[in-house]
């Protein structure tokens, strides 16, 4: 799995990293099941509180990748970013199960220079690195960086922040960094569903479904396994929310936890599109500079009536 590092709007980043927050990122396919290989799926992409009601922020289709059943790369077509909603099409021109989504990794946290607290990544605009601006790229401030000089800027309280870990100056202390791995994927099948795009990579939190995500029926229990670094992961917290809250009284979400075998058994209260988000945290970041690792995997699942 290719983890891309993106510098993205902070609101999105925080929604992704901590699914407990209300803002949810989602992709909504027009269907998950197609007959034949001359069809398209059209996908909505947004960040909002309620599912799947775009009323907050569009997600840029440029962030989305497409994996064809044979492992080749598919194409995002007709991308468009509206006020509240991004949209794009994908030609589903090979039989089997396609994956559409994104993988992101980032490192964020805090450090101190003297008595001042600085942040890495996060909300607001970078104030320029402490000391020399990031022009040096890999130079990371350099030994002579000394005291953060960034903010002299416009009035108010400028955030003491650097954009990336590479900008942490050499004289920083109390460095607390967390690695964040975030994946979002939807699955669309043409003809018979296949499992190629679901093959685990052994890295981070992964979705390893026993019931195929394109074969979900409201009166049949589904079994999904979650893996961390390729091994069944117990205690993964999973939130499951059916779309369309405004047409009923409650959100009707479920908070579930994987068992010792890493498996989640799901009963669906209704047919429809569901937003699923799994998250876990440990202290095994792949990046040595970080102390903790936060992982999430989210998906949109279509559950049909029997």
């Amino acid at each position: 799995m290719r983890f891309r590092t993106f510098l993205i709007a902070a609101a999105v980043s925080s929604a992704l990293a901590t699914p407990a927050l209300a803002h949810r990122m989602w992709l909504l396919p027009s269907t998950t099941t197609l007959a034949g290989t001359s069809e398209y799926v059209t996908v909505d992409a947004a960040v909002s509180n309620d599912l799947f009601y775009p009323d907050h922020m569009a997600l840029d289709p440029a962030q989305v990748s497409v994996w064809a059943p044979d492992g080749s790369e598919g194409k995002v077509e007709n991308p468009s970013k509206g006020r509240y909603r991004g949209t794009f099409d994908v030609a589903i021109d090979k039989p089997g199960t396609w994956k559409i989504g994104m993988n992101r990794s980032s490192i964020g946290g805090t450090f101190k220079v003297g008595a001042e607290q600085w942040r890495v990544g996060g909300r607001g605009r970078p104030a320029g690195p402490p000391g020399a601006p990031g022009a040096g790229g890999s130079g990371a401030g350099g030994p002579g960086a000394g005291r953060p000089g960034g903010p002299g800027g416009p009035g108010g309280q400028p955030p003491r922040m650097v954009a990336t870990v590479a900008d942490i100056p050499a004289n920083a202390t109390d460095i607390k960094l967390s690695e964040s791995l975030t994946s979002y994927a939807i699955y669309v099948s043409s003809d018979a569903p296949t499992k190629g795009v679901l093959t685990p990579t052994g890295k981070g939190l992964e979705f390893d479904p026993i019931t195929h995500p394109d074969a979900l029926v409201s009166d049949e229990e589904a079994s999904f396994r979650f893996l961390i670094d390729g091994k069944p992961a117990a205690g993964v917290k999973v939130t499951l929310i059916p779309g369309g809250k405004k047409y009923r009284e409650a959100e009707d979400g479920q908070e579930l936890t994987t068992g010792a075998d890493g498996v989640l058994r799901i009963k669906w209260p209704v047919a429809g599109m569901y937003w699923m988000s799994a998250s876990a945290e440990d202290n095994k970041p792949s990046d040595k500079r970080a102390q903790t690792r936060r992982m999430s995997f989210s998906s949109t699942l279509e559950v049909v009536a029997p």
Binding site: T33, A35, S38, S189, D191, A192, P193, A215, V217
Partner: protein, 166 residues
């Protein structure tokens, strides 16, 4: 075998009923499917599929699929086969269309009889018939039966009428 499409063996229901009164068949040999007449402004004949599932579990076996076989081009008739969503999941999605002896054109309202494969191993089965109509409804009817001997009957409420195995 590209264009030589064999239609399933469909017999008018009535003669068979008559035959049934003369010699009671020992095997569940055929199923009679009724497509309901529906009075709506925009009527399209439904896509209908029938298949047999062993009660003990195992692969479903499709016995007929009626769809818009002729429609080609940008939106071929096969596009809407997935609307028969249960059949599609139970095996339709891995079938190559058209399939000799199984697929045929959509049918007008009425009763049609289709042979049930004679080589089903003895055991308990459920025959399922699913219908999906463009701009209309979708219905799934299950009829339990066993091999050898016993037939059965069940009725749909909207798209499908009586489904009888005998």
């Amino acid at each position: 075998m590209t264009r030589t499409q064999t239609l399933p063996k469909i017999l008018p229901a009535l003669p068979l009923l008559v035959a049934g009164t003369i010699a009671t068949p020992a095997l569940a040999a055929s199923v009679t499917i009724t497509i309901t007449q529906i009075k709506v402004a925009e009527y399209h004949r439904p896509y209908v599929a029938g298949w047999v599932e062993p009660v003990a579990g195992g692969n479903a076996r499709t016995i007929f699929v009626w769809y818009d076989v002729k429609k080609a081009g940008r939106e071929p008739g096969t596009k809407w086969l997935a609307d028969l969503r249960t059949w599609w999941r139970k095996g339709g999605s891995s079938m190559k269309m058209p399939a000799d002896g199984l697929t045929g054109a959509t049918r007008a309202p009425g009763s049609y009889t289709v042979a049930i494969p004679a080589n089903l191993p003895a055991g308990q089965y459920v025959l399922k018939v699913e219908a999906a109509r463009e701009t209309g409804g979708r219905e799934l009817v299950s009829v339990p039966f066993s091999v050898p001997a016993k037939g059965g009957s069940a009725s749909g409420k909207t798209e499908l009428g009586t489904i009888t195995i005998r």
